[in-house]
Amino acid sequence: MPKEAALEGFTPQIGTEVTLEQLVERAFDYRGNVTVIRRDGSSVEGYLFNRNRDVADPFVEMFDKDGHGPLTILYGDIRTIRFTGKDTAAGNSYAAWLRAKEAAKKASVPPAADA
């Protein structure tokens, strides 16, 4: 199972690479759209914002790509989940902002005139 940063574009195989429960946890933590593929072949693309395993029929909840929802999908109906959307939390660090600011400062300082 790849680390968070490498999830974008990942299409795992349940059973060999990862369990369904592990996959749902990763999708729940992921700050981008995912595509949930059901056992019947249909799929929903959207943001998976919740999951609950502490009930008789564990489920996930999503808002689809157009923001409609919440849609509820039972764990038992899920064949796999693909990480199809951009990870919106990636590359936004404070360190990255500071680096960009420093670079901008340097760019705005006129080069020293030759003697």
Binding site: Y47, F49, F63, G67, S93, A95, W97
Partner: protein, 340 residues
């Protein structure tokens, strides 16, 4: 302490009533997030990293009001995202004020002056603008990752004070914060005429992108002690003095995550404003089915180990004040002497 007496009285009688009713867990402040959209992208913020369709959505006023009534807390904080970008912010605030809830509208204030000039809000003892200010100009602009925001916020504060609104500031402090500059910042804010200030340490939680700059517990105690010992007489804080003492390492509390529950378009967030471990459909479900003993420092949960944020510990300080003689005495001494 700068909280008006009527608000203090409301909170004190609410806490005592809950205790007399034998309620072990009760909310003090509802964090109501009507949207996640924001006109800034601060590095320490874990609230705005969502796909576009989520950022475009917002709660209806009716959903917000229903959540406020369901929760029953006497105070409502409206963060976001940026609540001044919520298209019905004026109506939402009017509905909550009509229900006599003390509303803290937590804003970066970029749009504040404009909204005030459009007469979106009416001054009320039930409404405070809680302006996000993370330090002096240079530090604030760095924290919010955009130059010029401090000056815009100051303009918004001036306009709100001039129009007779209650205005407070809220500051999240990260590692590297300079205590002397923060003291200068407190002077500046009080000179603007704000009613009081709020401070809290930033804390690392997995969904905030800037993991390196959050304060660890020991470092936080040092910083807050340097910043708050010998407070100047003109400084006023719009928060419990016992919480400030906790930040300085002079009080020890356990987290009260249910004290400031969070509601947004996903539902009732478990267990707190910081950690997003799932959502309940109703407030009752949140209170009854969240595994509360898995959270807080004593739980041994790694995610809670160094946490000192106000959403977990300020309710502990308030409960301690109104439910123990020692708490009441310590708070009274701090309030009367101005010493922390």
């Amino acid at each position: 302490m700068s909280v008006p007496f009527s608000q203090m009285w409301t909170v004190a009688s609410y806490v005592v009533t809950q205790r007399l009713r034998g309620r072990r867990r009760y909310p003090l402040v509802l964090q109501l997030e009507p949207l996640f959209r924001c006109n800034l992208a601060c590095a320490g913020c874990g609230k705005i990293q969502y796909p576009a369709q989520i950022l475009r959505k917002h709660l209806a006023v009716e959903q917000c009001v229903a959540a406020v009534e369901e929760c029953g807390a006497p105070m409502v904080a409206i963060p976001g995202g940026e609540p001044l970008m919520y298209p019905e912010i004026g109506r939402l605030v009017r509905e909550l004020v009509a229900r006599k809830r003390y509303v803290y509208l937590c804003t970066n204030a970029i749009l504040l002056k404009e909204k005030l000039q459009e007469d979106v809000f009416v001054p009320s003892k039930f409404l405070s603008f809680s302006v996000h200010m993370d330090g002096v100009r240079e530090d604030h602009d760095e924290a919010v990752c955009r130059d010029g925001v401090f000056d815009q916020a100051v303009e918004g504060i001036r306009e709100a004070v001039r129009r007779g609104f209650r205005v407070t500031t809220n500051s999240t402090l990260f590692d590297g914060a300079d205590p002397l500059r923060m003291r200068r910042f407190f002077d500046e804010m009080m000179a603007l005429g704000v009613e009081g200030m709020m401070v809290s340490p930033g804390y690392s939680y997995s969904k905030a992108p800037d993991q390196e700059h959050f304060l660890r517990r020991q470092r936080a105690h040092e910083l807050f002690s340097q910043m708050l010992s010998s407070p100047k007489r003109q400084w006023r804080f719009n928060q419990s003095p016992l919480f400030l003492q906790f930040l300085m390492g002079k009080q020890d509390f356990e987290c009260t995550p249910w004290g400031i529950p969070t509601y947004n378009m996903f539902g009732w967030q478990r267990p707190c404003y910081l950690l997003q471990e799932g959502y309940a459909k109703t407030f009752a479900e949140l209170m009854e089915t969240t595994k509360w003993d898995h959270y807080g420092r004593r739980s041994g949960n790694d995610k809670c180990r160094d946490c000192m944020v106000h959403c977990g510990y300020e309710p502990s300080a308030v409960n301690h004040t109104f439910t123990s003689w020692r708490g009441l005495r310590d708070a009274a001494v701090a309030t009367l002497t101005g010493r922390l």
